[in-house]
Structure formats: structure tokens, C-alpha cells
């Protein structure tokens, strides 16, 4: 576009727009920065009045997040000898000892297993279905596509009642497999819709050429279509992963001990007399960070993912 275009905003307009948008971004990021900062505060700094912007960084929140601690008497402490590690020393200063690891690590690992497991399944099944919907005359295609979309309109709590009953009967409640299947079912609608859009954009001529060269339909799908759709599949996968990573309603209702993921766990981190905010913030920081990174990597595909492919750019 030439700089003489009459539709191009003037330099002053750009400046004002830029400043307003930047101001909004800064304000909107304050809560996130506050989470990160609180994770590095000591408990007394975290609840200080007025709220502290400058503080001495402390790793107490992170130590509390990963350990369980018990209080000991000064006499007992005298018998223990010098603490071996920096985190042991940190805990000892409060008159406590580390009793063992906390459950945060397990919960985080559960989130990873269930997130990646369900993402893999939904992208795998979604790619197959999307290819079929894109290339073949599937009977009732539009109805099936709408049916797939409409499964997203149900409030999770409404579906949770019978799933709770069903899973109890099948022995799937509070298992990784149960949660993986459930998240796969929820994510499939997104995966099919998005991937169909991506595959629709790949020219049919490529496959037809391959078929003429003697490939079977299946070989053509594997060797021609999949490599072409790789970017689409990758961004769909990240959206599925982010959904499974963030999901809370099903996780809180259907898991308790074994397969509980991090989102229902983080708010239950409590210290002496109420929530241990630095530990909560530390847990939240570690949990939110991967999504922040993915969002930055994904910025070009964002729109398509969050709107089910309804809006393309």
C-alpha cells in the first residue's frame, strides 16, 4: 500500500491508537504479573498492606508448593543437626521440617498425561473424520457436522451426571483413561471442524495425481494429505491441549485421588490459617507458563482455533 493511500491512518492517529492499546495491554497484564510476583514473595510480604510492588524475592512459595512440612519443637531441632540443602534451611527457619513431597508434582504429571493423551487421540480421530468429511460423500454430512458441533453446547455439569454414573459402573471414574476419553470426546468437535477447514484448503489435484500414479486412497492420504496438513494438525493439537490443560468442571466432579489434574488442585493449596498465597501463585505460575508460551508461538493461528474455524484470516 502506498503511503499516499487515503485509507491509511495518519501518523498521529497511529500514535494515539498505539498508546491506548499498549495502555490496555499493560493494565490487563497486571493480574498475571501479580501472580508471578506473588510466587516469589514471602508469606508476610504477600499479604502486606499496602500491597508491595518491591520486595525481597523468596523461594518459600515454591518450597511450600512442592513439600509438606511439620512443625517441630526447638529441642527436637537441636537433635537434627545442620540442614543439608537450601530448601531444608528455608523451612527450618520457620521452625518446621520437610515431611515429604506435596501432591503438586503428581497433579501436574496427571495434567500432562491426560492433556497429551487426549490431544493425541482427538487429533488422530479428528484427522480421519475430517478427511472423510472433506473428500467423500458421507451420507447426512451436514447433519453429522452440526451434530458434532452441538455437543459443545451442553453445559459440562449437565453431561457430568450420567457420565458420573456411567464411569462408576465401568470403573472409569478417577482414572487416566476415563479422563482421556472424556476430553477426547469434548475436543473432537473442535478438532473435526478445524481440521476439515484445513484439509478443504489442500487442492484435491495432489491426491488425484497420486491415485493415478498407482497409490491407493489410503497411501495417498498418508503420503500426500498428511504432510500438507501438518501445520493445521499442529495448531489443532495445541488448541486441544490447551482445552484439556485448562478444563476444570469435569476434573473436579469426576476425579479425586488418582487422576486429579492441576486446576482443581491448585485452589486447594492451603497453609496455616487460610490459603498459602505464595504457594498458590507459584503453582499457578508453573501451570500457566506453558500456555503463555504456546499462545505466543500460536499467535498466527489463534483466531481459527478459538472460533471453531468459523472465522478465517
Amino acid at each position: 500500500m502506498s503511503i499516499f493511500s487515503i485509507t491509511e491512518p495518519s501518523g498521529r492517529q497511529k500514535w494515539i491508537a498505539g498508546i491506548l492499546v499498549a495502555a490496555y495491554a499493560v493494565i490487563t497484564l497486571i493480574p498475571l504479573l501479580w501472580i508471578i510476583a506473588t510466587g516469589f514473595k514471602s508469606p508476610s510480604d504477600a499479604i502486606a498492606y499496602p500491597p508491595k510492588v518491591m520486595f525481597d524475592p523468596s523461594l518459600e512459595g515454591y518450597v511450600n508448593l512442592f513439600t509438606t512440612q511439620t512443625r517441630i519443637t526447638p529441642d527436637m531441632e537441636a537433635t537434627l543437626g545442620e540442614p543439608d540443602t537450601w530448601y531444608e534451611r528455608l523451612v527450618r527457619e520457620k521452625g518446621m521440617v520437610i515431611a515429604g513431597p506435596s501432591r503438586y508434582g503428581e497433579r501436574f504429571l496427571n495434567s500432562v498425561i491426560i492433556g497429551f493423551g487426549s490431544t493425541f487421540l482427538s487429533v488422530f480421530l479428528g484427522t480421519l473424520a475430517a478427511y472423510a468429511f472433506s473428500r467423500f460423500k458421507v451420507p447426512l454430512k451436514d447433519d453429522l457436522m452440526f451434530f458434532i458441533l452441538s455437543t459443545r453446547m451442553m453445559p459440562p455439569i449437565a453431561v457430568a451426571i450420567p457420565i458420573f454414573l456411567m464411569y462408576r459402573t465401568l470403573g472409569l471414574s478417577d482414572t487416566h483413561l476415563g479422563m482421556i476419553l472424556l476430553y477426547t470426546a469434548v475436543n473432537l468437535s473442535l478438532a473435526v471442524w478445524l481440521l476439515k477447514g484445513f484439509i478443504d484448503e489442500i487442492p484435491r489435484e495432489y491426491e488425484e495425481a497420486a491415485l493415478i500414479d498407482g497409490y491407493t486412497r489410503f497411501q495417498a492420504f498418508i503420503k500426500v494429505v498428511l504432510p500438507q496438513a501438518a501445520t493445521g494438525i499442529a495448531s489443532t493439537a495445541i488448541f486441544c491441549l490447551i482445552f484439556a490443560w485448562n478444563e476444570y468442571a469435569f476434573a473436579v466432579l469426576l476425579t479425586s485421588g488418582e487422576a486429579q489434574t492441576a486446576p482443581p488442585f491448585i485452589p486447594t493449596i492451603i497453609g496455616v490459617g487460610g490459603q498459602d498465597w505464595p504457594a498458590v501463585a507459584a503453582g499457578a505460575t508453573l501451570f500457566l507458563l506453558p500456555v503463555v508460551i504456546f499462545t505466543i508461538l500460536l499467535r498466527k493461528h489463534l483466531l481459527r482455533g478459538i472460533t471453531f474455524g468459523a472465522v478465517r484470516k
Binding site: 490487563t28 501479580w34 498492606y49 453446547m153 459440562p156 453431561v159 486412497r217 468459523a310
Partner: protein, 315 residues
């Protein structure tokens, strides 16, 4: 006679021998590819839905498995629709829906309009703005509870600093008057970028030549805004409202962590109320009827809305 024989032979020969020799037929592949998805959705979405509908006509309670399950017809539906508490939660949900959509459309569109001025670095700022909506609502909601603390919370401190009121004199999530606004603020903070992104796509879809033609016709900027920009973005904006509307009608995670529906039932949205009936009071049959009513409401409203949306698109 020979004609008929030939006919019969032709019919007896399976179709698409060629493709069968070279692998599975397209039709078989289509079925193999679609079947697992449909099966999983049937098992985890449709089967439970049918089960919910069935349960909604009974007095079944999960915590009393040995009690007789009685078929009570439409009694559950009757009780729900005449229950003032449920109408109260509907009102709470309506308030939440109206104000979140209103604020998000207003701020979201304004932001998109500004970003579309194509200032330097707008990509970077857009990415930063988008961050809140990608995060886990439950984890973020829980942390907002901390920001809303009367003495120590950052939100109260900032509001107190700018308005001169004492930060400990009000509690956003502790007061019946303020709590409905507390959840509106957090939802707006989190989801405004969604509306922004969609509006931005709408604004970028308007070809420059339309504005150029308007310029030549000497239409004022104000007039261009109302006769070109707004109508062209409207279908996108309506799509954003549809997505946000459905999501916020179902809203659970953010609000349950932020206020838990309280104080009293000031922020008890329908999903939270439903969870209480189903998983705390264990009135399974009753809650199932409630779930069916919610689903029908969402589905009905969404269908009507999509019709309106299509009409706007056709114009």
C-alpha cells in the same frame, strides 16, 4: 435373452473392482474414518444425554441406590419451573450474560478498531492482550479472589487509591451488591480479547476500495464509520456474541472458584446451582430435569440467534 444375461452378469459383478484391487473403496475408507468419532461422541455425549432425559422423569438419587426408583412423569419439570430459587439463579445468569456481553462487545470492538489503525508493533500488543483468555479459568478465578481481598488485595488498593475510598471499606466478593459485578469484571477482563480478535478479522475483511469510493463521494469519517465499518463488522460481532453467549450461559469454573456462588446466592449462576442439586444434594432425577431445561434453553436461543445471524449475513 443374451441382453438380459449380460445385464445380470453386470449386476453381479461387485462395483468398483478396480479400486478394490488397489485397496479399500472410498466408501469403506469413509466409514472407517468417520465411525470412531461418531462412536465416541455417541458414547460420551448422546448416550448420557438420553440417559439424562430418562432420569429426569424419575425420583432417582445416586446416594440412595437401594431405594425404589419411581417414574414420576413431569413432576420434576413442574417443580423446577415453579421454584422461585431457580428463577433467582436465572436472573443472576441473565444479569451476568447481559453485562459481560455488553462490556465485551463495547471494549472488544473499540480495541479492534484501534489495533486496525496498523500502528507499529500491533502484532506484539495483540498477542499480549490475548493472554488472559488462554489461561485456566479456575486457576485464574481463584487468584482473583486474592486480588479482591479488602485489605491486602491489589484491586481494592488500586480502586481505593484512585477514588479515595478506604480499600478495606468494601469487599467485592463479600457483599451481595458488589459480587455480581465482581464476576462481570473478571469475565470481561478474561474474554474481551476474544471479541477483539473476531472484530479485528471483520475489520480486516473490509476492502480498502469501499472506503476509497466513500472518500471520493466526500462521505465524512463519521458517516463512513456508521455506513461501512459497523454494518460490515456486524456479522462478525454477532458471531462473537453467539460464542460468548453460549460459553457464559454454561459458565462454571471461573465463578465457582471466585465466589462459589456466594455471598448467599448472589452469584449463583445456573451451572453452579445445578452442580449443587446434582452433586451436593444428590437429587439426581431433579437435577437431570434441570439439565434438560438448560440444554433446551441454550439450544433454542442459539438456533433463533443463528437464524438472525444468517439474515444479517445475507444483507
Amino acid at each position: 435373452m443374451p441382453d438380459k444375461t449380460m445385464d445380470r452378469i453386470a449386476k453381479a459383478t461387485p462395483p468398483q473392482v478396480a479400486t478394490r484391487i488397489r485397496g479399500l473403496s472410498d466408501r469403506t475408507i469413509a466409514w472407517i474414518f468417520v465411525a470412531p468419532t461418531i462412536f465416541l461422541l455417541l458414547a460420551i455425549n448422546i448416550f448420557p444425554l438420553i440417559w439424562t432425559i430418562r432420569l429426569s422423569f424419575t425420583n432417582f438419587r445416586v446416594n440412595r441406590v437401594n431405594a425404589d426408583v419411581k417414574w414420576i412423569g413431569l413432576r420434576n419439570y413442574e417443580r423446577i419451573l415453579t421454584d422461585p430459587d431457580i428463577w433467582h439463579t436465572m436472573q443472576v445468569t441473565a444479569h451476568f450474560l447481559f453485562w459481560t456481553l455488553f462490556l465485551q462487545v463495547l471494549i472488544g470492538f473499540a480495541l479492534a478498531y484501534l489495533i486496525n489503525k496498523k500502528f507499529r508493533g500491533n502484532d506484539l500488543w495483540t498477542t499480549l492482550i490475548v493472554l488472559p483468555m488462554m489461561l485456566s479459568p479456575a486457576v485464574v478465578g481463584n487468584f482473583w479472589k486474592f486480588l479482591y481481598q479488602p485489605q491486602i488485595g491489589l484491586f481494592n488498593y488500586v480502586v481505593g487509591f484512585f477514588s479515595g475510598t478506604d480499600p478495606s471499606s468494601f469487599s467485592m466478593i463479600g457483599s451481595i451488591d458488589l459480587a455480581p459485578w465482581a464476576i462481570v469484571i473478571v469475565d470481561t477482563w478474561m474474554w474481551t480479547p476474544f471479541v477483539t480478535l473476531i472484530c479485528l478479522a471483520g475489520l480486516r475483511s473490509i476492502p480498502d476500495y469501499i472506503y476509497e469510493a466513500a472518500e471520493i463521494d466526500r462521505a465524512s469519517k463519521w458517516r463512513q464509520f456508521w455506513t461501512i465499518t459497523v454494518p460490515m463488522v456486524l456479522p462478525f460481532l454477532m458471531l462473537a456474541v453467539l460464542f460468548r453467549g453460549i460459553e457464559n450461559f454454561k459458565m462454571f469454573d471461573l465463578v465457582v472458584q471466585l465466589t462459589g456462588g456466594g455471598p448467599g446466592s448472589a452469584t449463583e449462576l445456573t451451572s453452579i446451582n445445578l452442580k449443587r442439586e446434582a452433586f451436593e444434594k444428590w437429587r439426581t432425577g431433579y437435577a437431570s430435569a434441570y439439565a434438560v431445561i438448560l440444554f433446551v434453553t441454550i439450544f433454542g436461543l442459539a438456533s433463533i440467534y443463528v437464524k438472525a445471524l444468517n439474515r444479517v449475513k445475507e444483507r
